[in-house]
């Protein structure tokens, strides 16, 4: 019987709903096209290549591919059902998880090995083929990973991949001058600087030979900004003008020169890490593993530790947002699995920064960029599909909108894990096998590390399409379960170390694990998705869902059994330990690379970089006093601002209940609409000790990254305290996303942010335990214009909740209760506020708010004390939009009204360190006494009439009107 490609279509039975078609049709109305489809019918398409007879095909179509209750199957292609037919197929080599699952199901059902590809067919009513194609390209697929067909596609055979040039020959760099080194580095996608290329040249001259291709690639991966963070670890000379230098001279690793320049040796170590070390020396004894592993680890209780990591996946998400976000969360989850001897992931977080969707017509979006609406809906879908499939609740996040993210959106993915305290560290041993588990290696994701370290341009989608990937969550889930079973074996953990294959693939994972011992790798042992990969491609591929373990030979048999049960592929790639601490790369009998671990890990030349800071002057008043909006208009406009508007549309798509651990959910209150300050979960089933998760993001204050950073730390702490976290048990993470830092003022801003992390961590006694930076976040358009992102620092935090039965939520509880404003002063400084973004500022109000970390820490302790004593009925931090917005959110969330009595000018400033607390009038004296050394004032009373009133500003507006404005913006 000849091998042929069979085609099966599955669509809803006549009379059944087609929700996917209806959703696509709804979404098509937002694309700004002249004509839009009036109706879309969808079908799943399966192409099956294999030796199948008619009966077998009918059996597959009828009982595997179609649901007999609600679907029908067609063999071949049904005739067109509408004016235009479009099919969306994955391009060859793109991960198709459904196809893999169908292949194994067919193997189980019929004992046949077949190849499957899946696709979707769309029959569009009321449009011609050209329009249908536009709908498809803008909505239903992405040309980077999909092919579009104007009619049902039924190929005669599947395309096969192309063979790479074999071997790993020598690259002659000995005689290259600087220009030749620079152009070679760029053309080979190494993205190494000239001094770095020179260091490599010198090393090989010393050895008297030229490097092989695989050696150069290994160095490029290991030395990439993404992997080694050379900017944050560099020596930096910082000058500030005008005025005296800042008082940082006493900080660790800082030197001040007579001319006022401050030299900082290793910025990261001298600020963020230094703060943690200072706090540990000062008695904080619950940091168990910081800045050394894939995630930071703190003590949870006497038996358990929790770990937390946040990663970014910006450049892949710019090109293919669905796959970029999904593999972003997938990679961060693997960081947690790869921490210590593996932790179980228990919660995820996600924060996105995109351009304002409403402001960009499709034609205005620069070539090479996707529309922000598409980016946001696809990154949400990516996180949803990966996180939900992994069974990890996505519990906390934020979205920030700014038009400078148009070419380079930001996607932050975080993950938290729990593990036994004795499992927090692992170390490979000499003789351990190098074992790869999980997904197969393909050409996908090659050069991800170097790609993410470069700047985006309009041609990046073509040049780096191969760096974009689709994840397969189920592979990662089975991998997780197999690893945890191996970790928890009754006789002890079956491996001595574990790490994930992330950026740089095997090259980074094995290179890091074998750093002290050396390693010998047989690259032909890696299982491949398809043939034709060169050894270098195998070595640096960033194919997803792979982990590397160091396994003592005597444990191999049991590990193989566990992997067989879970259907996880295991391959033995070699062993750790060489006589001279070198990394030996072999392919069959051939040695194709040999690198000294010392040069690989310590040979990177560190440069001194110049940073400067000149304060940005406050712009003169941009509006006259009589142009001020009414309080009512401002309130409604701010509630509808996408930064502030309800994110219910996103949150409801994430499973935030899975694992059954939720205590405070992301949405609270009777209607399930109130935006929680933080989420609280129970990491250990049966224990009432909780973990709160929150973030702080104050990008509005970017005019001075020092202020921005302190405000973000303060916001994160307040969010945690508002749900009942213990402010003496808060750990923080920093994630910097910056544009290129070659300009001294940009680097100066980065220095100020890092220095503020030092001050903030010490003031709040909240150590940083891990962090990451992503630089070069900017986009160069075809006409050479560079759009740099706003400097963005995400602060993520976890805090211990001693007993979750004391937790508080932000929804107002009872009419007649008082609303108390407590904490820092309300100054009326409008700089960087959302009000200023919408309306500009009046004279003398454009300054950034002052941040007083010591006062903020005092406020956090005082509020936590009140919550502990049960005196707070609801609590909410006063942040984006200001006091009036926060008060409105509490009333809306609780289904109540509120009568406010406050100075109208205080409504919209975003001064930090302020809390809104709902207090029973009977408790007011006790609360007032406890807050005696903080600013505190009764600003209102909750009412039963569902209106928000503010007599001073003649404001009287129904809560439901506020609610419509707030829910309407992002109701996608």
């Amino acid at each position: 019987m000849p091998t042929a490609v069979h085609r099966v279509e599955v669509r809803p039975r006549t009379g059944e709903l087609d929700p996917r078609g209806a959703a696509a049709c709804r979404e098509a109305q937002t694309l700004g096209l002249a004509r839009v489809p009036s109706k879309i019918d969808t079908a799943a398409v399966y192409l099956i290549q294999g030796e199948l007879d008619t009966d077998q095909l009918a059996l597959l179509a009828g009982s595997l591919l179609a649901d007999p209750v609600m679907e029908t199957a067609t063999l071949g292609a049904a005739p067109p059902l509408a004016d235009a037919v479009i099919e969306v197929h994955s391009l060859p080599g793109v991960m198709d998880p459904d196809a893999l699952a169908v292949e194994s199901a067919i193997r189980a059902m019929l004992g046949l090995r077949v190849q499957v590809r899946t696709a979707r067919r769309f029959d569009m009513h009321g449009v011609d083929t050209a329009t249908a194609r536009q709908v498809a390209e803008r909505l239903l697929g992405n040309p980077v990973i999909h092919g579009f067909h104007d009619e049902p596609w039924h190929p005669e055979s599947f395309p096969t991949g192309t063979r790479s040039r074999a071997g790993s020959g020598l690259v002659v760099i000995e005689d290259m001058d600087d220009r030749a080194l620079a152009s070679f580095s760029r053309n080979a996608h190494l993205f190494l600087s000239v001094p770095e290329m020179r260091a490599i040249q010198a090393e090989y001259r010393r050895q008297g030979r030229d490097p092989t291709e695989i050696e150069l690639e290994t160095l490029a991966q290991t030395w990439s900004e993404h992997c080694v963070h050379k900017t944050l670890k560099a020596t930096i000379r910082y000058r500030q003008q005008p005025g005296p230098p800042p008082d940082w001279a006493d900080r660790p690793g800082h030197e001040i020169a007579p001319d006022g320049a401050i030299t900082i040796h290793n910025l990261l170590k001298s600020t963020i890490v230094a703060a943690t070390e200072t706090l540990i020396a000062d008695g904080i004894d619950w940091c168990l593993s910081v800045f050394v592993d894939n995630a930071g680890v703190i003590a949870f209780d006497d038996e358990h530790a929790v770990c937390f990591k946040v990663e970014t996946h910006n450049h892949p998400s710019a090109i293919e947002p669905y796959g970029g976000a999904a593999t972003g969360i997938g990679g961060c989850i693997r960081d947690i699995i790869g921490t210590g001897l593996a932790a179980r992931p228990i919660a995820s977080t996600d924060v996105f920064c995109v351009a304002h969707p409403e402001k960009w017509t499709p034609d205005a979006v620069p070539a090479g960029c996707l529309h922000p609406r598409r980016i946001l809906s696809q990154v949400v879908a990516g996180v949803r599909d990966y996180g939900n499939r992994m069974g990890i609740p996505t519990l906390n996040g934020a979205v920030w909108f700014d038009d400078d993210y148009i070419g380079n959106p930001l996607v932050y993915c975080g993950c938290i894990g729990v593990m036994p305290r004795e499992m927090i560290a692992g170390e490979p041993r000499r003789g351990d096998r190098i074992v790869a588990l999980g997904g197969r290696t393909g050409r996908d994701g090659i050069h991800g590390a170097t790609f993410s370290s470069s700047e985006l341009t309009g041609s990046h989608a073509d040049e780096f399409g191969h760096a974009v990937q689709i994840g397969n969550a189920v592979t990662e889930k089975t991998l997780l379960e197999a690893i945890l079973q191996a970790r928890d074996e009754p006789g002890g953990c079956l491996y001595s170390a574990i790490t994930d294959c992330g950026a740089g693939g095997f090259s980074s994972a094995v290179g890091e694990m074998g750093c002290e011992l050396g390693a010998v790798v047989q690259l032909e042992k890696a299982p491949l998705k398809y043939s034709g990969l060169s050894p270098t491609e195998i070595w640096i591929s960033e194919a997803q869902e792979r982990m590397v373990l160091a396994v003592p030979p005597e444990s191999m048999k049991r590990l193989e059994e566990i992997c067989a049960l879970h259907e996880v592929e295991l391959s033995d790639l070699g062993h750790f330990g060489t006589d001279d601490r070198s990394l030996v790369l072999r392919y069959g009998h051939r040695e194709i690379g040999r690198l000294a671990m010392e040069f690989l890990h310590e040979g990177l030349p560190m440069s001194t970089r110049e940073a400067s800071w000149t304060p940005v002057p406050v712009a003169a008043s941009t509006r006259r006093a009589d142009e001020a909006p009414t309080c009512r208009d401002a309130l409604l406009a701010l509630l509808a601002h996408p930064n502030i508007a309800s994110k219910r549309w996103i949150i409801r798509q994430y499973d935030h209940e899975v694992q059954g651990s939720s205590v405070v959910k992301p949405l609270v209150g009777p209607g399930g609409e109130g935006p929680s300050d933080a989420a609280v979960i129970l990491p250990v089933p049966g224990s009432m000790r909780g973990l709160a998760i929150a973030n702080g993001l104050a990008t509005g204050l970017r005019a001075d990254p020092y202020v921005m950073t302190l405000a973000a730390i303060d916001e994160c702490v307040r969010n945690l305290v508002c749900v009942g976290a213990d402010p003496t048990r808060i750990a923080l993470l920093d994630n910097f996303c910056w544009p290129s830092c070659t300009e001294p003022q940009r680097l100066g801003g980065l220095v100020r942010a890092a220095e503020a992390c030092y001050e903030g961590a010490l003031a709040y006694r909240a150590p940083f335990i891990s962090g990451k930076d992503s630089l070069n976040n900017q986009f160069t358009t075809d006409d050479g214009r560079t759009i740099a992102i706003p400097p963005t620092l995400l602060i993520s935090g976890i805090g211990i909740v001693q007993d979750v039965s004391c937790c508080v939520t932000m929804d107002a509880k009872t009419a007649g209760n008082l609303l108390v404003l407590a904490g820092g002063p309300t100054t009326g400084a409008m700089g960087g506020s959302h009000y200023e973004m919408l309306y500009g500022h009046a004279e003398h109000h454009g300054e950034l708010p002052a941040v007083d970390p010591a006062g903020g820490a005092r406020a956090a302790r005082a509020v936590a004390g009140l919550i502990d004593r049960g005196l707070v009925r609801s609590a909410h931090d006063c942040s984006d939009g200001g006091l009036l917005i926060a008060a409105a959110e509490m009333a809306m969330a609780g289904g109540l009204g509120i009568e406010l009595a406050l100075d109208g000018r205080a409504c919209f400033s975003e001064d930090p360190a302020r809390y809104l607390l709902e207090i029973d009038p009977g408790d007011l004296d006790a609360v007032t006494a406890a807050l005696s050394d903080l600013t505190h004032v009764v600003v209102g009373e909750f009412t039963g009439d569902r209106r928000l009133t503010l007599s001073d500003a003649q404001l009287d507006v129904p809560i439901d009107e506020l609610r419509s404005a707030w829910l309407g913006t992002l109701d996608w």
Binding site: E16, D98, N472, Q653, Q659, G660, V668, G672, G686, V808
Partner: protein, 266 residues
Amino acid sequence: MTTALVLTTSGINCDRELAHAFELAGATAELVHLNRLLAEPGMVDRYSLIGLPGGFSYGDAIGAGRIAATLMREALYPAFVSAIARGVPIIAPCNGFQIAAQMGLLPGPAAGEPWPAVPARPTVGLAANDTARFVDRWCAVEIPDGTRCIWTQGIELEDAGRVLPVAHGEGRFTVGPDLAVSRLAADGQIALRYRPGENPNGSLDAVAGICDASGLVLGLMPHPERFTRWTHHPQWTRLEEPRGETLGLAMFRNAVAWAKQQVAAV
């Protein structure tokens, strides 16, 4: 010892909380991988309770639960039917419900009819939500009068406590051409409904869960294992004390109590 078999396999991800719910209700629970069970279907005889947990088995490729049901249908049907004959309560939330419906366990034969020797062709299905979107929310639910379901039998709760969480993309209950939902209702096989205005996915007749004619096998889209303590409740910070037992835990207690008294040993 009353022990629950909690099935797990590729993509199942609610197994541990389902096991925990059985334990809170007084049983012990063991996670058993499908590949082990397929190798030795007779293992089912050792257990007096069964849970088919939620998740995305095999990625929910093709359709939710399709591949798991395909693997289990012929191989495990006899073992499950014999467990039902012994009086073993079976719960199948979410992905478990999708699997149970496709492997012929639900709605099962009409009252008084025997289980067929081979699995019946599916007559109920869980289709894509009417919004075409995954939804996570809590829904107010009601237990229809006269249901045969042993899991939801005799549970008295205040209004605020009659809620359960849902989290799924394919949960719209529907019936095929050969079955009328009125027949299920008349026979007491509707175990749970969404209350008016609370239907999260466009389910036919607001059906949230059904049982077989014996009342032992419960398939439902909501997750009772995610409502076993009051701090699970989405508005627990607003509720007055004391609150009694949660709806989820009450269901598991019903089944464990039944298993302790009724299940016959093999």
